[in-house]
């Protein structure tokens, strides 16, 4: 009985060693904010093409969730966050290298293509007849919305505070709300299902996206960050609606 247990345990140990050591040089895991899904997938493909034999795996999600996963020991090489605050959580835990802001993202007013409430500017959102969706303040797009509205001195009572920007956008796409504040990148990604209306106060609430390599990452991580920061990276990102820092 005991002998069999020893055999089983040693098999586990061997299996564990095998998986952690060998492929470290060719595989890279990138944790990135959900709003980077399209652009980073594109950049990942280019990276793999430029570095034959490598494989980039992405984990897209809410920046806060990703930060928490990283501090709980999730194996990642690169972290690209949608807000400096979430990056700070990881940096404070001593898990990230020096972060670099690689893009900025600006808010726009998103309305259904037929714009039923005839929204033209930020002030129109204060009309109680207009149903507005905002992101919850706890997530970056919500924090940015609050900042922009404060800068404009406006008070908007939304019907809902959504858990992320995609959910906010969905409410507009389905016509459940008349308007929402989302990122310009999301408006572009929606491919015509919503119309974006830029507004000047958005400049007061620009969202910085920092990127950093993580502790004990392989040299591949640095090379991926370099690609994101390169001219080629900037082209992909600006095409999607991001602004260069």
């Amino acid at each position: 009985m005991l002998k069999r247990l020893v055999v089983v345990v040693s098999m586990f140990v061997l299996a564990a060693c095998g998986s952690s050591s060998a492929p470290a040089e060719t595989e890279l895991t990138v944790f990135a904010a959900a709003s980077l899904t399209g652009t980073f997938t594109e950049l990942g493909k280019r990276f793999e093409a430029a570095n034959p034999g490598t494989k980039v795996t992405f984990n897209f999600g809410s920046s806060a969730t990703l930060a928490q996963q990283i501090t709980q020991g999730a194996p990642a090489g690169v972290f690209a966050a949608a807000s400096p605050a979430t990056m700070k959580t990881v940096a404070d835990a001593g898990l990230a290298g020096t972060p670099t802001v690689f893009v900025k993202n600006k808010l726009e007013i998103a309305v259904p293509p037929d714009n039923p409430a005839k929204v033209e500017n930020l002030k129109d959102l204060t009309d109680p007849e207009v149903k507005v969706a905002l992101c919850a303040e706890q997530v970056p797009c919500g924090a940015a919305a609050v900042k922009a509205l404060d800068a404009a001195g406006l008070k908007v009572t939304p019907v809902t505070l959504e858990q992320d920007v995609k959910a906010t956008l969905t409410k507009v796409e389905l016509g459940e709300v008349d308007a929402a504040l989302v990122y310009r990148t999301d408006v572009i990604a929606s491919a015509g299902k919503v119309t974006g209306i830029p507004f000047p106060e958005a400049d007061q609430a620009v969202n910085d996206y920092p990127i950093a390599t993580l502790k004990d990452a392989s040299p591949l991580a640095r090379r991926f960050v370099d690609l994101v920061l390169s001219k080629q990276g900037e082209d992909v990102l600006t095409k999607a609606g991001f602004e260069a820092p």
Binding site: A64, A133, A136, Q138, V159, T160, L161, E162, L174, E176
Partner: protein
């Protein structure tokens, strides 16, 4: 003397128990006990808790009113397509709740098939209202009730219903005065499952009813958003939800058991 309990059952049972209880213990260990009272007294927490209890209870009532007759229909009548209907009833069980929420929007939303008409007639639209929370919770939780009650109905002895019929009871009277009391334990079990599921409902609620404190922000939504910025607050909220639901279920159980004895 009782025979020995077989290890082949005990070992997986203990593992299963540990699997269910350990994450709970994790929450308890990591809870910020020192700041607990202060966090609990935040009005938002109480508001979310109140909203959760109210909507879950109303949703359970809705499920009882609609689900018990549905279970009866499935268990006691035979009509073409009954098997298909039975399968459809369980769809919300396998549907990711977020998808369920989108589906509800497509039907009951402002531009939905029914919602559009509802709004033009009454000017009322379900999304982003407390009623919307109840609808989302009932949608996700009702299958639990229907399946439990249908099982109880199938297990019940139909001869009692025949006896009632020979005493002059109409089919509805039979249902109300004989069938329902006979399957009461099954209905209660179903209602408890239904209530618990409604209380923990997240995906369909946030998708269909949105998230607004005091109106549609139930505890699970508050927990999720707290997780974004303050994981500790999320743990506190989860514990509150847990404690309150366990307390209520135990209290109800004692009352039922007390009433039955």
């Amino acid at each position: 003397m009782r025979s020995r309990v077989p290890w082949l059952l005990v070992v997986p049972a203990v593992l299963g128990m540990a699997f269910l209880v350990l994450p709970l213990a994790g929450l308890l260990v990591r809870a910020p006990w020192s700041t607990l009272p202060q966090r609990l007294s935040e009005p938002q927490v109480l508001e979310a808790l109140r909203l959760s209890l109210v909507t879950a209870s109303v949703a359970t009532a809705v499920c009882l009113v609609l689900g018990v007759p549905l279970a009866w229909l499935l268990a006691r009548t035979d009509f073409p397509g009954r098997r298909l209907l039975r399968a459809l009833v369980t769809v919300p069980l396998v549907l990711p709740p977020v998808v369920g929420g989108v589906a509800l929007l497509l039907v009951l939303g402002r531009r939905g098939l029914v919602g559009q008409w509802l709004e033009s007639v009454s000017g009322f639209s379900l999304p982003f209202t407390t009623a919307g929370v109840v609808v989302a919770e009932a949608f996700v939780a009702m299958p639990f009730l229907v399946i439990a009650v249908e099982g109880a109905l199938r297990a019940a002895d139909v001869r009692y219903e025949e006896a009632a019929a020979t005493l002059g009871a109409s089919r509805f009277t039979v249902f109300r005065r004989v069938t329902l009391p006979l399957v009461a334990p099954g209905v209660l079990a179903g209602a408890v499952l239904c209530w618990a599921r409604a209380l923990g409902e997240f995906g369909a609620t946030i998708t269909f009813a949105g998230n607004f404190p005091g109106r549609t922000q139930t505890m699970p939504l508050a927990v999720y958003l707290a997780l974004e910025t303050e994981p500790e607050a999320a743990i506190v909220l989860s514990l509150v939800l847990l404690a309150v639901s366990v307390f209520i279920l135990v209290a109800l159980r004692d009352r039922w058991v007390g009433a039955a004895a």
